[in-house]
């Protein structure tokens, strides 16, 4: 097999495509760098000149508000020039191939692509294709990976829980279709979390998920017992009723996070969600807005983490 395509020969990060294969040391160094950027967002002038003169293209083949916006803010705080492209609306409909689009933007002087695409592996394809000085950040590819989400979740956990090696973490919901879940699982297992649980009905668990290093629970009441962190997943509207689930109501009854169920977790457990939330489907409002939720801090930290990733990729050159 070819070597890990996101690392250079000396083990430095060239692209960020997936958390799988990153070392715990590298993940911590990204989180440490992010830590130094948190204060930038609290300053009067929220800018550092690390990426001045660099052109970053947000290449989104799938609609996104939160991720694209936080990437944009992160790039601007690093003083980069940012171009946002909603490609689903332009060249793809004219029949241009993904790599042709990339080549054209590279010819306009792109230094970095932040890519979201509905197909798993799209970011890998682009990373293999671009010239060596261009960096690729995967902002979500199909069901495969959403590494910056995974990193910002780790950043959040580290802020509230410090030691990963003493935690029990439960990931709840549609693991099968979730790139967030996959990135979270890789990050948690790499950082030494001894017990990562996934909680879902069997229809929403991918085949052989145990091989990723998780314990499977079909019963949420058992799965939440004594956990330190509850990571909820979004349930897509189109999956709420059909071959995967009979109804959103029944899902909420069995797998929605309510204050009652949360009591089974440790008293100081934190509740996370990558957004956007479906209140009353996967999470009850009283929990989403409650004292244990860290959902808005996740968004805030997302900017610092994305600043860290982009500056580590392109800032040193």
């Amino acid at each position: 097999m070819t070597p890990n395509p996101q690392l250079s020969e000396d083990g430095a990060l060239r692209h960020l495509l997936t958390i799988e294969g990153l070392s715990a040391k590298l993940i911590h160094s990204i989180l440490d760098t992010a830590e130094s950027f948190v204060s930038v967002g609290e300053r009067e002038v929220k800018k550092v000149p690390l990426l001045r003169g660099k052109s970053i293209f947000n290449l989104f083949f799938e609609p996104s508000t939160r991720t694209r916006t936080t990437f944009e803010i992160a790039a601007k705080r690093l003083s980069a020039d940012v171009v946002n492209l909603n490609v689903s609306a332009s060249s793809q409909s004219k029949g241009e191939t993904l790599l042709d689009t990339v080549d054209n933007l590279a010819a306009m002087g792109a230094d970095m692509f932040v890519v979201r695409h509905a197909q798993s592996g799209a970011a890998h394809l682009i990373a293999r294709h671009v010239a060596p000085h261009i960096h690729v950040v995967n902002a979500g590819d199909g069901r495969h990976a959403h590494p910056t989400q995974g990193l910002l979740d780790m950043f959040t956990i580290r802020r509230y829980k410090q030691d990963f090696t003493k935690l029990k973490v439960a990931i709840v919901g549609d693991v099968m279709h979730s790139r967030v879940a996959r990135s979270e699982i890789h990050a948690l297992t790499t950082l030494g979390v001894p017990e990562v649980r996934v909680i879902a009905p069997r229809t929403l668990l991918p085949t052989g998920v145990e091989a990723l290093g998780v314990h499977v629970y079909n019963d949420m009441l058992q799965g939440l017992k004594d956990v330190d962190v509850v990571m909820m997943l979004r349930l897509q509207n189109e999956r709420m009723s059909g071959p995967f689930l009979p109804s959103a109501q029944e899902y909420f009854k069995s797998y929605g996070l309510t204050a009652d169920k949360l009591q089974l977790a440790k008293p100081d457990a934190i509740v996370m969600h990558p957004g956007p939330m479906n209140r009353g489907v996967e999470i009850d409002s009283s929990v989403a807005d409650g004292g244990q939720a860290v959902i808005l801090p996740q968004v805030t930290y997302g900017i610092a983490v994305r600043m860290a990733v982009m500056s580590m990729l392109a800032g040193t050159q």
């Binding site: 097999m1 070819t2 395509p5 799988e20 191939t97 993904l98 790599l99 695409h117 197909q119 798993s120 592996g121 799209a122 890998h124 394809l125 294709h129 590819d141 199909g142 069901r143 495969h144 990976a145 790139r179 996959r182 991918p206 085949t207 052989g208 998920v209 091989a211 990723l212």
Partner: protein
């Protein structure tokens, strides 16, 4: 044209012959073995020292992309690839554009292929019109036009009643039905084997039971209808076990696997290598091991190339959007040899899987070098190393998961009906 091939090691699995001997060709036939016939004067002498002389290979699945997909490959390019791979007879599936569902199309393809004077082409007719799974084709007419059997290629056949009727109708005339077993509902939307690799990569899966369920249906309908069926591109160990049982029960079933599935598994997708996007999907290591063992035991009758040239642009896209398939005609021999070496079986047993065994399934008196028979043969160097790379392939399709692999075994010369059609 009289040809004397001397000093070669002749391997003819059908006749159970393996030894250094001379072979004499005249008037397109094998004139003699060992001793020259009386009064034989060769127009050409070929020194086959250190080479193996074998019957020309017979490939049960090679897409030539004509008619309709000439931008992917032409009959000329793919027929050259065939003979460069030592293949002198090949079966092409009906999924062309238009599909091979009319006698005129089949006659035209046969005529085009014949005029090239290279490998013999045996088209499979479509089992239903347009491969739409609704209306039977004129099988008797198509047979007269040159179809060797009837297939649904990779098109879904959803209606079980129609499948039963198609098998009954084919059985009426004694035609063989070629089916790739896959439940269309379980396969829908899937692009990789439903297992740990697909889960890790986030690729939509096709479970192995999609194959075993469809296979159980086909085998049940065989019992019901008495039809003879050739199972195409088996991919799972459950599938191998079902075929083994059916054969033990005496059902007239045969099956093949592709060179890709004999050697690779879902791990070979690596970091989304779209060349490993194949139909059926590459399954896990245990499945692959069962396929390889099945080929040894004889449950799997034949190894085929499943040659599917795909345009480079159709592979330079995300894995799930890539067109499925791999080029294979020129890899059939080296990958048969690789399998034989790894499984520790004889060269002759390996060559049987690409010569007399496929001939038996086609009902052809071919794939052997008996005196008086058609002189289709191949001379290859079993010790020649070469690296799979685009320039090394004659096929217009350069797409294969074996790109960069070191191969052992290279075809040096191919003869069809006593004429040299390829030499390197």
């Amino acid at each position: 044209m009289k040809i004397h091939i001397k000093n070669g090691r002749l391997i003819d699995p059908k006749n159970n012959f393996d030894g250094v001997t001379d072979i004499y060709l005249a008037a397109g036939k094998v004139a003699a073995l060992g001793q020259a016939p009386d009064g034989f004067t060769a127009n050409r002498e070929i020194d086959a020292r250190n080479l193996i002389v074998a019957p020309g290979f017979i490939d049960l699945a090679a897409r030539l992309r004509e008619p309709g997909y000439e931008y992917l490959a032409t009959l000329e390019s793919e027929m050259q690839a065939a003979v460069a791979g030592g293949v002198t007879r090949l079966v092409c599936p009906p999924d062309t554009d238009p599909v091979l569902d009319e006698p005129g199309l089949v006659e035209m393809l046969k005529h085009r292929a014949k005029s090239l004077n290279q490998a013999h082409v045996y088209p499979l007719g479509a089992l239903t019109q347009g491969l739409a799974g609704k209306v039977l084709t004129e099988m008797a007419e198509l047979h007269d036009a040159g179809c060797i059997g009837f297939s649904h290629a990779n098109a879904p056949l959803i209606d079980t009643t129609l499948l039963m009727r198609a098998m009954q109708y084919a059985a009426t005339f004694g035609f063989t039905v070629w089916l790739r077993p896959e439940d269309p509902f379980l396969a829908k939307g899937g692009i990789a084997h439903d297992g740990e690799v697909a889960t890790r990569l986030g690729l939509a899966g096709i479970p192995a039971c999609a194959e075993s369920i469809a296979l159980a249906t086909i085998l049940t309908l065989m019992r019901e209808t008495g039809a003879r069926v050739h199972i195409c591109r088996l991919s799972s160990r459950a599938g191998v076990e079902l075929v083994r049982q059916a054969k033990a029960d005496g059902l007239p079933v045969t099956c093949d696997i592709s060179i890709n599935h004999a050697h690779l598994c879902d791990m070979d997708i690596g970091y989304f290598d779209s060349n490993a996007n194949l139909i059926p999907p590459l399954r896990d290591q245990r499945d692959r091991d069962a396929l390889r063992a099945g080929l040894v035991s004889g449950v799997v009758d034949v190894l085929c190339s499943d040659h599917t040239p795909v345009d480079e642009n159709a592979k330079q896209v995300p894995f799930g959007e890539a067109e499925a398939g791999a080029t294979g005609l020129e890899l059939l021999l080296p990958l048969a040899l690789k399998w034989a070496i790894e499984q520790k079986i004889s060269l002759s047993a390996a060559l049987a899987k690409i010569t007399c065994e496929p001939a038996r399934i086609l009902g052809l008196d071919a794939g052997h070098l008996s005196v008086g028979h058609n002189a289709d043969l191949c001379l290859f160097d079993p010790a020649a190393h070469w690296r799979v790379a685009a320039p090394a392939l004659k096929s217009q399709g350069k797409n294969t998961p074996f790109l960069g692999y070191e191969m052992l075994g290279k075809v040096r010369m191919t003869l069809v009906s006593g004429h040299v059609v390829y030499e390197s």
